[in-house]
Amino acid sequence: MDFSYSKTEELFLQMIRSFAENEVKPLAAEVDETERFPMETVKKMAKLGLMGIPVPRQYGGAGGSVQMYIMAVEELSRVCATTGVILSAHTSLCMAPILENGTEEQKMKYLPKLASGEWIGAFGLTEPNAGTDAAMQQTMAVDAGDKYILNGTKIFITNAAYADVFIVMAMTDKSKGTKGISAFIVEKGFKGFSIGKKELKMGIRGSATCELIFENCEVPKENLLGPLGKGFNIAMKTLDGGRIGIASQALGIAQGAMDETVKYTKERKQFGKSIAQFQNTQFQMADLKTKVEAARLLVRSAAWKKDKGLPYSADAAMAKLFAAETAMEVTTKAVQFHGGYGYTREYPVERMMRDAKITEIYEGTSEVQRMVIAGHLFK
């Protein structure tokens, strides 16, 4: 068993840390404050190949590992959780299902442009009445000869306003329940497809979260992703992978809050000494550090299994559950350690606490993760 980073991963870490520190961190507060999608950062990431890390070379990707991809999400989220989720949704929720389920034609058509970052990807499963109960899809797809006609609405879609390609779930046969759900690749210009209202959110405020509206939207037959009626399976597998990404995002947020708190408590003096010298600070921080490291091992282990082609569904759920709850705990305590300053926007821990909350909710709430883990435990 080897817990160390490979030489390639070490080199990658050097690059992504420096990129995050120099290109992403300086924008984080402003992106949050103005709820602005950091397109210039996405372009810079595209130039370096960060938008296609785990995609094989033959499809225009960098040919890296899942491990490298989740390291990127962690390091970006450490300074800006918005940037972390843009990459995570693009990679895990759009490119991965095409790579894993697409025909050769679909892969050749979509992956090179997504992996190069020319296009941004998104994923549409959630609906107003189908959240955790994702099987209750009301978006319908009707077979119309050479195309499908989609009608319905998706909500809370990450990257939506800036995405070019969407993986969309819709009912092709309502009588079959989850086996009547199919997956489609929808392009932004398709007739009858539009982007609805943008959500005003508590955190990750730079990521453009919007509705997708399908009004007699025409999707060519060849854009069915995977077999007819397999959409629910594809969605669940996609979310398994996505959870490793969100777990890394949560881990990054937690690490970022740790970094800020160590720095602050060493500088901040009360009662004649730095607050880092108080045992209360030390013991609490020791507990938090232990949890962050435990989360990191869970995340890395899930990614390692995905890289090896081993089953990782329960691992991803455990990683996400633990990392998300750790992120919430660490950031909440980070604000507490910062006292009044921590409650202001002068210090990044305020933003980090708001950003952390979503990791307990999206791509399966913590409750869903417990369901998944228990499902594996009692099967």
Partner: protein, 260 residues
């Protein structure tokens, strides 16, 4: 065009602490990095590669661990990497170092040699210029810009303390470069994935065009007698402002440091 860039692995001096008793550098746990001016030089070479098309070779002299900066150079886009590593090179001062590097370069085809102005560990700024002397080449130090003319000459901008000179250099030359003028590119992801699949050529003294008596400790006329830290005093900041503004600046500074 063939460009050779000389690079060095150095301890990241921004992370270095000094042992208060022994007055020596505590190197333990300090990360090793590519020397910033050398990285600037590498960036200049890669910009020329983008602009004119070129084959870029990096050379470093150092222990086997120096392999790391050569991998980094691969991931930034260089074509070939050579590590000069041999016990015979050990203990080299700037003269013996520049001699070994020149001995390696003599065996290669090149149109231009680029080095960083100076390394952040030794701060001598001697290796580049000495190398030019060993090779009998013209040199320009403190370079902030360089272009290649059609006739093979280089138009080079050199930064002096209070002026910038533009020089034309005939043919092959050595340029020593300032990091501040060339913001180094990031490694690409694909470059990183490939970096360890490429070959770093490891050369011993026998591969070089040199007199072995002039290498390493034997070839080094200088020795470091003693190192000690300078008593550092914060430089302070000077503001020429009105009284009101001065009060505001002072209050803000005190707040920044959580003193009020």
């Amino acid at each position: 065009m063939n460009i050779i860039v000389c690079i060095k692995q150095v301890p990241d001096t921004t992370e270095i602490k000094i042992d208060p008793v022994k007055n020596t550098l505590i190197r333990e746990g300090v990360p090793s990095i590519m020397n910033p001016d050398d990285k600037g030089g590498l960036e200049l070479a890669l910009q020329m590669k983008d602009k004119y098309g070129a084959n870029v070779t990096v050379i470093t002299m150092g222990p086997p661990q120096a392999d790391l900066i050569l991998r980094e150079a691969f991931a930034m886009g260089v074509d070939r990497a050579i590590l000069l590593s041999d016990r015979k090179f050990a203990g080299a001062d700037t003269l013996a170092t520049s001699y070994a590097l020149a001995g390696a370069i003599k065996t290669l085809d090149y149109d231009l040699i680029i080095a960083g102005r100076q390394a952040i560990d030794g701060d001598t700024a001697q290796v580049g210029p000495e190398m030019a002397e060993h090779l009998g080449l013209p040199q320009v130090s403190y370079v902030i810009d360089a272009e290649r003319e059609k006739n093979g000459n280089f138009i080079v901008k050199k930064e002096n303390e209070d002026s910038v000179q533009t020089l034309e250099v005939e043919g092959k030359c050595v340029l020593t470069v300032l990091a501040s003028a060339f913001e180094a590119r990031y490694m690409t992801v694909a470059g990183i994935v490939d970096a360890y699949n490429k070959e770093v050529e490891v050369w011993g003294a026998d591969k070089l065009d040199v007199d072995e008596n002039k290498l390493g400790l034997k070839g080094s006329p200088t020795k470091v007698w003693q190192s000690f830290p300078k008593q550092l005093k914060a430089p302070g900041e000077v503001f020429e402002v009105s009284e009101e503004e001065a009060v505001e600046i002072i209050v803000n500074k005190l707040k920044e440091k959580h003193l009020i």
